[in-house]
Amino acid sequence: MRITLRYFASVREKLKRSEEEREIPSGATVRTVWDILKREHPELSAMEKAMSFAVAQEYVDRDHPLQDNDELAVIPPVSGGCYA
């Protein structure tokens, strides 16, 4: 099946792209894809605990099963608002 991946902020800069389409094995979960990304970009492992994920613009946990045409966003720690 095919999914769209979205990257933001520090992840977008590390991967040098903001989105891409990928073929992934059927039965794949968020964790499956995250493991593939970490294998391709070992520097992402430093953010292992910090990463959140969203499917169809809703936060999901790593066991969330993916479906054909899903949009999976890799979400580094958010930092909206001011410092205060």
Partner: protein, 157 residues
């Protein structure tokens, strides 16, 4: 009053006009309005900050802001709430985020406004890059930080 007339959440690329938020939140039944404005400070963690640059996950950012606003209406006796976040370059002293909350009495407005900005910082998919003298840094992405979503889940557990 239907919920959609009591909530206004927006992401903007332009400077924030606070008056638009207070105009929206104004209500004949309100005796109080609390406002919050977050601005770019000229120092952070000992660094001299030049400016901040914000980006968001379009669509999801607005959706998460509206969820926070809806939770505010459910938890406090609030008339209206307006929340706005700016994207792109935000210079020293300029506003990156603004909130206005109106209520019958001040206590609810203060509490709801405080809650709204805290939640926004924790869960809305918006990121800021700090450009400081000598480098740049995505705030929150330093090694060892806990994920935004996981942190909220743990707090609610």
């Amino acid at each position: 009053m239907p919920e959609e007339q009591r909530i206004w959440c927006a992401i903007t690329n332009s400077p924030i006009a606070m008056q638009e938020l207070t105009d929206f939140a104004a209500d004949p039944a309100a005796g109080a309005m609390a406002t919050f404005v977050g601005m770019t400070r000229n120092t952070n963690d000992g660094r001299r900050v030049i400016r901040l640059e914000y980006e968001c996950y379009p669509g999801m950012a607005e959706k998460e802001m509206r969820k926070i606003a809806a939770e505010v209406l459910a938890r406090w006796s609030i008339r209206k709430i307006a929340m706005m976040h700016r994207l792109g370059q935000v210079d020293i002293g300029e506003a990156s985020v603004a909130i206005a909350v109106s209520s019958g009495h001040r206590h609810a407005a203060f509490e709801a406004c405080h809650f709204a900005i805290n939640q926004l910082k924790e869960i809305v998919p918006i990121w800021k890059k700090e450009l400081y003298e000598g480098g740049e840094l995505w705030i929150g992405s330093q090694t060892g930080t806990t994920g935004s979503w996981q942190r909220v889940q743990e707090e609610n557990a």
